[in-house]
């Protein structure tokens, strides 16, 4: 620190100052005009000396010399998308709209174009690793050069630099917040499953229960035989939540020992018989005393609180068994199997178990017969008048999450006969489905249905349907956009619902149009001769 500043900090009452005795030219100049070091003048002189020295330094500022140049960004081997693309994409990035950003990344990569330079700072500021992974292939040499300048290169490195990425992820896993650690572990798993499991095993014992559960969740979507040993250990975790999660993950792994035990037990509890007309009927028979290992194996975390121990046990056992097993076992179609259990007192538990199994089994979902059979069962109405309700709302909700293009029309038409309470749940499920993995495939059917509803009714019913337009605008695939942009007939009324419906439609058309323009612009640039 400068002597003058030290004196001013301490005060001239404590540290006397005489400008005339100072060696600095600017300060000496002050000394000439204020030769006295009287108390009053000393403070003024010190201040003026500080001012004079500041001007002297400002006027005599010397730049840093011989600063080496910065190596420029390498030449690109692909063209940048244009500034028109940048302008069209900017809003989606500033509002961080993941579905459109993913679409943008996909289209750019397909078009062989690079992210426009003006968009790079915004893109590089994104922290969502899923988006980073999608955008990385279109970052180009310029983007990676820019990221490297901020020491952020590893997160954006090309796939060929996996070891660097892993190092970076390892650091994050060791030092980050729990959210960052979970993300790092999940990213590591995409690159090297064994490595990610090693990190998990090393860290697991010393983590608190909530963190163990969060970290274990990274195995949830793609656990394989190589994870079984670790998961078996985790099934005996001191935290019931962790143990339940490990059990559920193992139960969803068809080759696991747990599944083979559960399959064996499933055969013991679900008994079939045929009457003289050869009509199949099924019933649930549990041992009088449930063995401890049964209970332990059934300890999955998706137990339904308000249901009985027996109900949860049936669910846990049946959900682990592939549905095709029952078709072979009883030589019956899904429709016949569901019909065969319908009269049993545990039918709901069985239907729920089968629905859970259907959720896990992609082949059965594509087949569609099981979805239809379970849908018919669960959506059948019982009761009368105002007390009328669907037979099994829980199964129906779970089936809602499995809607795809093969069954969306049936699911949409369900609304026509649902009682009021069930309709509320249905609209909530519809919103979730439009945010879900099959959103693109089911979106066109939604457009057609909502269009019909709005044209038919000016009431709050139309508004209810219109409220689905918001997620729908982001879910709609490019191919379905022209149809979605055909002029909408909206309710003509001064009622609040009608006005709001009009606004929702306007906003939907705006979002879809902007998405369409962005995609079309990228595709046009891809086909332009370079």
């Amino acid at each position: 620190m400068d002597d003058l500043v030290k004196m001013a900090l301490a005060g001239t009452n404590r540290m006397p100052f005489d400008a005339a005795r100072d060696g600095r030219p600017a300060v000496r100049l002050v000394g000439l005009s204020r030769p006295s070091s009287a108390e009053g003048d000393a403070a003024a002189a010190l201040l003026e000396a500080c001012g004079a020295e500041a001007v002297y330094r400002f006027a005599g500022y010397r730049p840093a010399r011989d600063v080496p140049p910065l190596a420029p960004a390498p030449t690109e081997d692909r063209a940048f998308a244009s500034s028109t693309v940048a302008a069209a994409a900017e809003g989606w990035f500033s509002r961080l709209t993941p579905p459109v950003i993913l679409e943008f990344a996909r289209e750019l990569e397909r078009a062989g174009l690079l992210i426009p330079p003006e968009l790079l700072p915004t893109v590089l500021a994104i922290e969502d690793r899923r988006l980073r992974i999608a955008l990385a292939p279109s970052l180009g040499a310029r983007g990676r050069w820019l990221a490297a300048l901020d020491g952020d290169a590893a997160a954006w490195a090309a796939p060929s630099r996996e070891s660097t990425v892993l190092e970076e992820l390892r650091t994050t896993f060791e030092r980050g917040t729990i959210d960052e650690r979970v993300a790092a572990l999940a990213d590591c798993r995409k690159i090297d499953r064994g490595e990610s499991r090693r990190w998990l095993e090393e860290a697991f014992a010393s983590e608190k229960a909530e963190n163990r559960r969060r970290l274990l969740e990274t195995l949830e979507s793609d656990a394989g035989p190589d994870d079984e040993a670790f998961l078996e250990t985790a099934r005996h975790d001191r935290s019931t939540q962790v143990a339940a999660l490990a059990t559920r993950v193992l139960a969803e792994m068809p080759s696991s020992k747990l599944v083979s035990r559960l399959t064996k037990r499933a055969g013991q509890i679900l008994r079939g018989s045929r009457n003289w007309l050869r009509k199949l009927s099924l019933r649930v028979e549990l041992p009088k005393e449930i063995p401890e290992d049964w209970k332990q194996d059934a300890g999955g975390e998706d137990r339904v609180g308000q249901k009985s121990e027996k109900w949860n046990l049936v669910l846990a056992i049946l959900r682990a068994v592939p549905l095709v097993h029952w078709e072979k076992e009883f030589g019956a179609t899904p429709e016949a199997l569901v019909g065969a259990i319908a009269e049993d007192e545990d039918a709901d538990a069985v239907a729920c178990g089968w629905t859970a199994s259907l959720a896990r089994d992609a082949n059965a979902r594509r087949d569609g017969r099981w979805w239809s059979a379970l849908f018919d069962y669960a959506s059948a109405l019982k009761g009368s008048g105002e007390k009328r309700t669907v037979r099994d709302p829980l199964v129906l909700r779970r089936l809602g999450a499995l809607v795809d293009e093969t069954n969306v029309d049936r699911w949409l038409s369900l609304t026509e006969r649902l009682p009021a309470d069930a309709r509320d749940a249905w609209f909530a499920d519809a919103r979730s489905a439009l945010d879900g993995p099959a959103s693109e495939r089911i979106a066109p059917a939604f457009v057609a249905r909502i269009r019909r509803e709005l044209a038919a009714s000016p009431t709050d019913e139309a508004y209810r349907w219109a409220s689905l337009l918001e997620p729908l605008a982001l879910a709609l695939p490019f191919e379905a956009m022209p149809a979605a942009l055909v002029t909408w007939k909206v309710p003509e009324s001064d009622a609040w619902h009608a006005r709001r419906t009009g606004q929702l439609v306007e906003s939907f058309v705006d979002v879809v149009s902007r998405r369409r323009r962005l995609v079309e612009q990228i595709r046009a640039e891809a086909s332009r001769p370079s």
Partner: protein, 436 residues
């Protein structure tokens, strides 16, 4: 003229208006959209239908909406829409509701010009002299009180004053306003922001307070200084040069003036817009200041990256920095599309700063245009580097915007140097100007 989206966003009174304007930058919100050489217009449907008209010669605008923000979202919306491409606002015949406004505007401009040319009413010299003497006395008293306070501060020691915050400085600033020294008042108010704001705050505080103390001394000896220094000190203290002063003593330079960069500072519910202008032919730099209370608009739209042929008059004084167009809205605005003169070497610029400071040591910052410079990292900090390898430290700005565009290749840079750091405001690369 077609402005870029960045330039238009700079015109917005706040981020909310910029966002709202962006949401209106779609043709579906507009009817009767059109433009010709002189104007652009459109009807925007909001809770009512609003008429939006823009005079392209100086970006003067009118919107019939009731918003108290200027420019409002409708004006920003149509400008942003026009920035997308030439076709978004098509060429058309101007409707009467827009042409009437344009004609009235033109008429008003002409009246203003005529009024400026007209001989002024004779002033009663004795009364004016008395008024001036009274004001000078009040200012002198105000400066005496400021000196007493500053001296006392240093006598006791400035260590720990950061704990008191900016309040004591604001109080001194208010007293200077009462003493009719508003220019100095805003300097004192800004100094109050320094304590505790960075690790080197004592150095910065004492440098600024010291310059202030030197200033008050100089002002007391005003009549012993030369005329240009007197004029500059008067302006710094807040005695505004009159139109007669400008006509009589102001240096006039006719050129094609480029708005190279701009800052807007908010202090005490008062906004100050500083625009650095550079003469394409003369190479001369000028500082154009505009003030506005709260969210009120600045009198004139000065958009960075635009160029206008016209005559600037420099305020008389030693600093030779502050200037204004002789008549507001003079000349036609164009977007900058070609490079303009600037310093090739940082060293030469610093020499010019030294010369300027020798003339007037209280200048706070200097506008600069550098040609063919790059940004470089040095030991964790970023610098602007010239071709010879000399470099100045950069202020904290989003340098990624520049580097992303240039990829490390040389570019022309506009900014402001305050003796500690260079603040980039705009750059020219690949045939286009962009705001930093």
């Amino acid at each position: 003229m077609r402005l870029t989206a960045d330039q238009i966003r700079e015109m917005a009174p706040d981020a909310g208006s910029a966002k709202a304007g962006a949401s209106l930058a779609a043709a579906k919100h507009w009817t009767e959209l059109g433009r010709d050489d002189a104007a652009m217009w459109g009807l925007c449907k909001g809770s009512a239908v609003y008429q939006v008209k823009i005079d392209l010669s100086d970006l003067g605008y009118y919107c019939s909406c009731p918003s108290r923000k200027f420019p409002c979202k409708h004006v920003l919306g149509i400008l942003l829409l026009a920035s997308h491409s030439e076709e978004t606002v098509p060429a058309a015949t101007i409707p009467s509701w827009a042409s009437d406004w344009l004609a009235r505007r033109q008429e008003s401009k002409e009246k203003k010009a005529a009024k400026a040319e007209a001989p002024k009413k004779p002033v009663e010299e004795a009364a004016q002299a008395e008024r001036t003497a009274n004001r000078m006395r009040r200012i002198a008293d105000g400066l005496d009180r400021l000196d007493l306070w500053l001296d006392d501060l240093v006598r006791r020691g400035v260590a720990g004053i950061e704990a008191e915050g900016a309040a004591p400085w604001r109080e001194q600033s208010r007293r200077l306003v009462d003493a009719q020294a508003p220019g100095l008042a805003s300097r004192v108010s800004l100094i109050g922001e320094i304590p505790g704001s960075s690790a080197d705050w004592p150095n910065r505080l004492l440098a600024e307070a010291g310059k202030l103390r030197l200033f008050t001394d100089a002002f007391r000896r005003l009549d012993r200084l030369d005329a240009s220094l007197q004029a500059e000190l008067r302006q710094t203290v807040g005695l505004i040069a009159t139109a007669e002063d400008l006509t009589r003593d102001g240096e006039r330079i006719s050129d094609s003036w480029i708005v190279g960069g701009q800052t807007v500072e908010d202090a005490d519910r008062f906004r100050t817009q500083r625009s650095w202008l550079f003469g394409r032919e003369s190479g001369r730099r000028a500082l154009m200041l505009q003030f506005a209370p709260g969210q009120q608009p600045f009198a004139e739209i000065v958009a960075p990256g635009t160029e206008r042929r016209g005559e600037l008059v420099f305020y008389p004084g030693a600093a030779r920095q502050r200037a204004k167009f002789i008549s507001a809205g003079e000349g036609t605005l164009e977007a900058v599309t070609a490079r303009w003169p600037g310093f090739d070497a940082i060293e030469s610029f610093l020499d010019s700063v030294a010369d300027d400071l020798a003339r007037y040591p209280w200048s706070e910052a200097f506008g600069a245009t550098f040609r063919d410079v790059t940004f470089v990292p040095v030991a964790g900090a970023w610098f602007v580097r010239d071709d010879a390898g000399d470099a100045l430290p950069l202020a904290r700005v989003d340098r990624r915007r520049v580097l992303a565009r240039t990829g490390g290749a040389p570019f022309d840079l506009v900014g402001e140097w305050n003796g500690r750091e260079f603040r980039p405001l705009g750059f020219f690369f690949d045939g286009a100007y962009r705001i930093v």
